[in-house]
Symmetry: C2
DNA sequence: TTGACAGATATACAGTGTATGTTTAACACC
DNA sequence: GGTGTTAAACATACACTGTATATCTGTCAA
């Protein structure tokens, strides 16, 4: 076993693998160490704490988000960034939990904010408007994706899931949920809500906002 | 010390107190037990596991959300519910973290969905439209509030915080963030983003959606 | 060859959730 | 009132967590 072979990068590589495969709750320093053929305490020569590991992991996630390009039309760029954020969050299911805990995410987030602000300001937004716009878009992305991550049923199985659970939903107690499930089970709609629906609602609102009168 | 004095309700009472005061991470079965003058294992006569404690806590939180009333105009009711959700989530900072982990929240959530769906359907939405609308609104509430909970600075101190951090933001590396912070520090705007801004964007979009043509 | 020292290791500690087995207090019934 | 029955509180134990501290060791500069 060679010396000097361990680096923070390799630790984060392994940590992301574990988290992606088994979830963050399965990530322990001892497990991480044994995956790298090393003892737990060796990791502390390269990272300060487990929280730092989590922080570095989050940084990698944020870096994967498509950053708006300088010359692009703001609406197109925001749409692209939003879809990218969702995809990244979905592909690392553990990231959402970390995002809303007090874990910092280093300066990857600064680069993202910088690019986003820049694109919006170039598109005619004031800084205050850009702030509000970014916040509104991010709110939707985070909120939608969190809900999506918590939905226990596979998108392809809404109909059959609805049919399965239908008898468990008391028609007397929850008439509307019952009726909605019935419609899904019958195939009248698929029970999926659309990410783009809310996003376009917001983008359209922003378009009107910067174009016309203002709040 | 009387026997038979411990109940699940009292356990949850104590758990909420601990979580509100010190955060969920400070909540352990042993600490909870000692607060109730009891040993850790006694708790397990009343609750199945720590996860069940968390689930019951979440249920209480969800119950606090203002449910839409049967006769009310949908938009007013949705606005009221959204603001209420935000307030409830802000007053129990630990709830957000739990909401997006795999912890279930019992049937408090069913009562909320039932009332919300019913109100929207009464307002002319189809079930599919009601589903989408609820999802869009909830996305914003969750996402906005999560971001709000993570903002390290107190809303009243944006200006001074911006002034403090300004020198730490490299003007060369992050020109737009620098400029935005400068504007905040100078008091040109307060750096606060508005919950209602995004919410009204969505409500307006929904209004147009149910009124006019459709996607 | 010999220090020096970075980095791997061993040990230990205080904490976690909870499985398991035992004790005890409160109630129903003779 | 005495006596089972039983639910609830308790004690112990286990496997695990993150990490502080102290020790050992392989590699490189002198």
């Amino acid at each position: 076993m060679k010396r000097r072979s361990l680096t923070a990068d390799k630790i984060i590589d392994a940590a992301m693998e574990v988290a992606d495969a088994e979830g963050v709750e399965a990530l322990s320093m001892r497990k991480l160490a044994s995956l790298l053929n090393v003892t737990a305490m060796s990791l502390y020569n390269h990272v300060g704490s487990k929280d730092e590991v989590l922080e570095l992991m989050l940084g990698r996630v944020v870096t994967q988000i498509a950053r708006p390009e300088a010359g692009g039309y703001w609406e197109t760029m925001m749409r692209r960034r939003a879809h990218s954020m969702r995809e990244v969050l979905l592909s690392h299911r553990w990231a959402s939990t970390l995002l809303i805990s007090r874990i910092s995410m280093g300066d990857a987030i600064l680069r993202d904010i910088e690019a986003t602000l820049g694109c919006l300001v170039a598109g005619g937004f004031t800084y205050r408007q850009a702030d509000w716009a970014r916040n509104a878009i991010d709110s939707h992305v985070y909120g939608y994706t969190f809900q999506e991550l918590n939905t226990p049923v596979d998108p392809d199985e809404y109909r059959s899931a609805a049919a399965t659970y239908l008898p468990m939903i008391s028609q007397a107690e929850y008439p509307h949920i019952h009726e909605a499930s019935l419609e899904i089970a019958k195939g009248e709609y698929d029970g999926r809500t659309d990410f783009s629906f809310g996003l376009e609602l917001i983008l359209k609102g922003l378009r009107n906002w910067v174009a016309g009168t203002a709040p």
